[in-house]
């Protein structure tokens, strides 16, 4: 698959960390930063990689509650949070859960 634009540093960091951690079947990282760039909380911040949505499907989530799945990801990305990552929306599913949802 050809990516339309190069990943910025934060995006690549997220991508490589989560790929290593979860060996995902599917990993989508959507950069929503521009939607928040003009918010007062973002004043003085020049990074274009502050707010992300991450949709990930991985067997590594099996048997884990949503909270645990989120903690796995947050834990792995703690350095990114320290470095300016501001918000992360997560959707975490196992392949089985996706299949089940598709059946319905």
């Amino acid at each position: 698959m050809v990516s339309q634009q190069e990943d910025g540093p934060v995006t690549s960091s997220i991508r490589s960390t989560l790929t290593d951690l979860l060996n995902p079947e599917k990993l989508e990282i959507i950069n929503d930063s521009s939607k928040h760039a003009h918010h007062s909380a973002m004043r003085g911040v020049f990074s274009k990689e502050t707010h992300f949505r991450v949709n990930v499907v991985s067997e590594a989530f099996a048997g884990k509650s949503t909270m645990q799945r989120h903690r796995m990801i947050y834990g792995a990305l703690s350095k990114d949070f320290d470095a300016g990552l501001h918000a992360l929306s997560l959707n975490t599913k196992t392949p089985a859960e996706i299949a089940k949802a598709n059946e319905a």
Binding site: H70, Y74, A87
Partner: protein, 326 residues
């Protein structure tokens, strides 16, 4: 001053900034619309006048995006110390003591006077003859622990007697920090919240009757405050803003979700208190807001609570919280 430049162009920067020489450079990245920068610019200038061995360069970050990017400036104010081509120190935010420390570390000048001592606590140089060391220590301990932030300054918040004290006070006020101050020029005077409480005799008496402690709000330590807040109500949310005026899209969605569910809850505005905001993240090991707690336990953020509502889990969990109204 020859060691202080406000750059107006990239060419000027190139002419002034020669990192490969032995000169140490202090770079100030600022923006006019950020009030903390204005305070720190004054501090920066002051440091320049006191540290002739370092070249201070003031850079308006948004006008020079390439330079800002090169030094990975993510927010203003930010300060970078460069020595022999390497970034040897960075100070992020309006932190005058940190900046002074960083500059002092790399300054060859022996006379870095004034600025370092202004923001630190100093014991009064002359103890009144009536006070023993034990009494002195007890009094100091009482004062320093009476407020989360205690500033020992020359003068009072309304009448500072030295420009470093004045700058410190301006910074504290601008940052909306609650603080108490102690006037080191007049050992016999105790000021709490800028108000003259009295001399030593008066203070001793007030301490004895417990009135002094009542004057100064007892600051619980952060951990206690956080635990109390988390348990303030069975369903407790930490958001940006208030339920009536949420100040972030995610907080807004959470409030709407809970309104839909018709549950009772209490909330805390993390924008009002940065100690709680940062402390909570470490305390519960969760990096984002909003946060939702039930009976003192973190349920999660917006994503998780949304999911819980969708699959019915949330309704089960909070059924216990709905007060049995008659």
């Amino acid at each position: 001053m020859s060691n202080y430049t406000v750059i107006a162009s990239d060419e000027e920067f190139a002419a002034v900034f020669k990192p490969t020489t032995s000169t140490v450079y202090a770079l100030n990245f600022w923006a006019a619309w950020a009030p903390p920068c204005i305070q720190m610019n004054e501090v920066f200038e002051e440091l320049a006048s006191k540290n002739s061995a370092i070249h201070f360069i003031k850079i308006e970050a948004e006008k020079f995006p390439d330079i800002s990017e090169e030094y990975e400036i993510a927010a203003v104010p930010s300060f970078v110390i460069v020595k022999e081509g390497n970034v040897v120190d960075r100070v992020e935010g309006a932190n005058a003591p940190e900046l002074s420390k960083a500059v002092a570390k790399y300054s060859k000048s022996t006379s870095t006077s004034g600025l370092n001592s202004a923001a630190t606590t100093t014991t009064p140089s002359v103890a009144p003859p009536t006070m023993s060391p034990e009494e002195m220590n007890a009094r100091l301990k009482e004062l320093t622990s009476s407020s989360a932030v205690m500033a020992f300054i020359k003068g009072t918040p309304t009448a500072p007697r030295c420009q470093f004290s004045r700058q410190l006070l301006e910074i504290l006020t601008a940052q909306n920090i609650r603080f108490s101050s102690f006037n080191i020029l007049a050992d016999d005077e105790v000021y709490v919240k800028g108000e003259f409480v009295g001399g030593l005799d008066v203070v001793k008496e007030l301490v004895a009757t417990g009135e002094f402690q009542a004057l100064v709000p007892a600051e619980k330590d952060l951990k206690t405050r956080m635990d109390e807040l988390i348990n303030k109500a069975p369903l407790m949310i930490f958001i940006k803003g208030s339920p009536e005026t949420p100040r972030c899209g995610f907080s807004k969605k959470l409030v709407a979700l809970l309104a839909d569910q018709e549950v009772t809850y209490d909330s805390f505005d993390i924008l009002e208190d940065d100690d709680i905001r940062q402390g909570l993240k470490t305390h519960v090991d969760w990096p984002t807001f909003p946060m939702v707690f039930f009976k003192g336990e973190l349920l999660g953020g917006l994503d998780i609570v949304t999911e819980m509502v969708e699959n019915g889990e949330f309704q089960q969990v909070v059924a216990e919280a709905k007060s049995p109204e008659s």
